[in-house]
Amino acid sequence: MKTHNILLLSIGLLCFLSCKRVREKKEYTRIVFDSDSLRVVSSAVNKKLETMAVLYGNNVGYKTLIDSGSNHRAGELYKFVTWKYQDNPSFYGSKINGELLSVETISIQPGQGESIKINYRVERGEILPVNGVALNKQERISYILAYKPAILP
């Protein structure tokens, strides 16, 4: 019986120590999203969901969104990155992006004849609803491609 108790105690202690070690091992980092050669198209803040998003696009995509936003063509590439936001710890009154929630990619390729093929992929995370409504794939593509580039001098 005594041996049994010692054994249980040892296992408990081992679990406690290993859990503690796992907790200590969790390290955090600062992420600068690697947009590769894509440039910032625009951004959005959703105060209900407490999220911020940045839309990136390549030059073809950027130009299309400026020109019309509807006449899409092969070669357009976009990434839509969503973050949870939080209070900036250095300055009360400012919110800043925090945890990275999701990354979506849209690429447009030539289809049959003169048509185009729009590919949509969730690269990371889960997509949150827009205005309380979960969008299907086609709606999500329309939502992202409806962005207009932010005005810059």
Binding site: Y28, I31, V32, S43, S90, G93, I96
Partner: protein
């Protein structure tokens, strides 16, 4: 290893003391030295420049409970109405006090409130709130000699309530954005301190995005040197050549209930050049406003007189930048 010059001087003083003691006796030497110090002190009182009290051109306008807090805790440095202790007017203490007051007045002067715009008043009050909230103001060494100056928690709440009240455009207006879009590449503008506007930043990576006071939204871009510094946490100091640009827009609400960038407000630059920008912790600040890119600052000293105050006190941990991405994402 001892400095040979210092060691030499020390030896010389020792020799003079020894000789003096031999000729005049220990008591006489000590008395003469004290007399010399006292006379030098009196002489310096007449030679030193006293603190200048400029006129009150326009006192801060706020509810009386806010003015009372500012008068008690801030006015002694951040105004032209300074009520100093007698010993703060005596050299050498006055040298330190006068230097601090001069710098404080440059950053924020509650006696010259009329010299800045309504938008700047609001920005300054947010700075006050942040400084007292982070317990950075009044300065710790000032509080030792002025224990009554500490801002109480209840007073911080009073300031917070007031600041939120005066902040306009709390709710983004509905509207379209991107209409009449035009982008003129290659626009040129220069700040008085030599920071040049470049539209190269449009191709840089976004290091973060943010909002301020619920009425503007920002995307912060960093060049390759800045991005590398963030990834390596190389903030103390940031490497020369790092450039961070914050593009600021008004908030516009869209049909999805989201907020998106509307009218362009300004682009704020921070350029790291330790040798050139010694007064502002090595950072060259610039703000180019409106699509015409009008630079802020009438002289090259504008950043030392405004920007660096908050950056120095509140963002020291990240090398004086507010918009460094937070360390909240798990590794891998």
């Amino acid at each position: 290893m001892a400095n040979p010059v210092t060691a030499g001087s020390f030896e010389l003083i020792k020799s003079i003391m020894k000789l003096s003691k031999q000729h005049y006796g220990k008591k006489t030497v000590v008395f003469s030295l004290l007399l010399l110090i006292a006379l030098s002190g009196v002489f310096l009182q007449f030679k030193s420049t006293p603190l200048e009290y400029g006129p009150v051109t326009g006192k801060v306008e706020a509810p009386k409970e806010i003015v009372a807090i500012l008068e008690r805790s801030c006015f002694n440095c951040h105004s032209n109405e300074n009520d100093l202790h007698w010993y703060e007017k005596i050299v050498p203490v006055s040298w330190l006090v006068n230097k601090d007051i001069k710098r404080a007045r440059e950053i924020m002067n509650f006696s010259e409130w009329d010299k800045i715009s309504r938008a700047e008043h609001i920005g300054k009050m947010w700075a006050v709130l942040n400084m007292v909230k982070a317990d950075k103001m009044p300065l710790a060494n000032y509080r030792i000699l002025h224990p009554g100056s500490k801002v109480a928690e209840s007073e911080i709440q009073t300031i917070k309530k007031y600041v939120l009240e005066i902040t306009e455009n709390q709710t983004a207006k509905p509207g379209n954005h991107g209409i009449n879009y035009h982008e003129t590449a290659g626009k040129i503008a220069a700040s008085k301190n030599g920071v040049i506007y470049t539209d190269e930043f449009k191709k840089w990576k976004a290091i973060s995005s943010s909002t301020l006071y619920e009425n503007s939204m920002r995307v912060i871009y960093g060049n390759d040197i800045a991005v590398k510094a963030i990834e390596e946490e190389n903030f103390h100091p940031w490497p020369d050549g790092a450039v961070v640009v914050k593009a600021v827009w008004e908030q516009i609400r869209n049909q999805y209930g989201e907020v998106r960038p509307g009218k362009f407000i300004n682009a704020q630059f921070m350029v790291k050049d330790a040798a050139r920008y010694k007064d502002t912790e090595g950072w060259g600040f610039a703000k180019f406003s409106t699509p015409e890119l009008i630079p802020t600052g009438k002289t090259a000293l504008f950043a030392a007189q405004s920007c660096i105050g908050c950056h120095r006190q509140l963002a020291g941990e990240t090398g004086f930048l507010f918009s460094v991405p937070l360390k909240v994402n798990p590794k891998n």
